[in-house]
Amino acid sequence: MKNLKLFIPFILFAVLAVLLLKGLGRDPSVLPSALIDRPMPAFSLPDLHDPERQLTQDIFKGHVSLLNVWATWCPSCRVEHPFFMALAEKGVRIVGMDYKDQDPLALEWLDKLGNPYAQIFVDREGALGIDLGVFGAPETYLIDHTGTIRAKHVGVVDETVWKELGALYRQLVKESEGR
C-alpha cells in the first residue's frame, strides 16, 4: 500500500506526458467544419461564363461533386490547379466557386491554365463564403448527390490529401449509383 502511494506522482506525470504528446502531433490549423452533414447553403450566384445566368444549390443535386473555392489572387490555387485538371480528366465532377475575385482575371486564368470545372459560379462579395464557413482559399468541399456536404479540406488538394478524400468520393459515388 505504502509502495503504491509512492507511484502516484509518477502515474500523474505519465498521464500528463501522454496527453501533451498527443497535443504535439495535432495540426492546430485544421478546424472541423461546422457544415459537415448539412445541406449546401442556399445561394443564387452568376455563372462565370454567362453572368446573366444564375446558378443555385440545385447544381449539386444528382451527382457527387467537389466544390473548389478558388481565386486568381491565391497562389496555392495555382499550385493545386494541375491536380484538379488531372482529376477532371479522370471524370471527377468539380464545381468551382470563384471567391472574391474579378471575372476577367478568372476567365484569363482558365484560358491560360485550362478549366477543370464542370460549372463555375462567382461569389464576388464572399457572402456564400461566410455561409459556407470559408476563411480563405483554396478550400475544397465534397458534396454528395443529395446536395449534402460530406467533407471539407482547407488548403491545397494533392496526391496525399486525395488518398483519403478520393476514397470517400468513390464511396459516395457507389452509394449514389446503388439507389
Binding site: A34, G126, L132, F135
Partner: protein, 171 residues
Amino acid sequence: MFFLKISRINKLFKAFSMAFWLFGAAHTMAVIEIAPLSSAELEARYRLLIEELRCPKCQNQNLSDSDSPIAADLREQIRVLLEDGKSDEEVVAYLVDRYGDFVRYRPAVQTNTLVLWFAPAAFVVLALIAVLLVVRGHQRAKNRTMALSLEEQRRLDSLLSSPSKSGDEHL
C-alpha cells in the same frame, strides 16, 4: 553580452509601446472602420462582440485585432446583423453555425467543454483534499511519538534523575 542585448531589446520595446500609446490607444484603434453603427449602444455591443469572437483564419487573434480579409468580412457581417436588430446571442450563433465553436473565445458550457470549465475547480478541490490528508497524517504521526507508554515514562524519569548511574555512558 547576452544580458546587454536583452536589456537593449527591452528598451526598444518600451520605446515602441510608448510611441503607440502616445499616438492614441493602439489597442482599441487596431481596426479602422468605415462608419460607426447607428447608435452608441450598438457600437458598444459591436466592440464587445469583435473582442470575444475569434478570427477563423488567424488562430490566435480576435476579429477586432485581425487584419485578414475574412476578419474584415465577418466584422462587416456582424455590423449588418446588429443593425438588423439581432441579439448578441443570435450573432454568436450565426458565426458558430458557420465556423464552429472555434470562433468563440468564451466557450459555451456544453458536454464537450465540461472538462474545460470544471477541471480547474476539480483540481483545487483535489489539492485541498490532498493537503488535508497530509496535514492530518503529520498530526497523527506527531501524536503517536509524543505519547509514551507508562513503562517508557518510568524509564525516562529514571534516566533523567540519575544520568551517570544508568547503563549508557557517552562521555
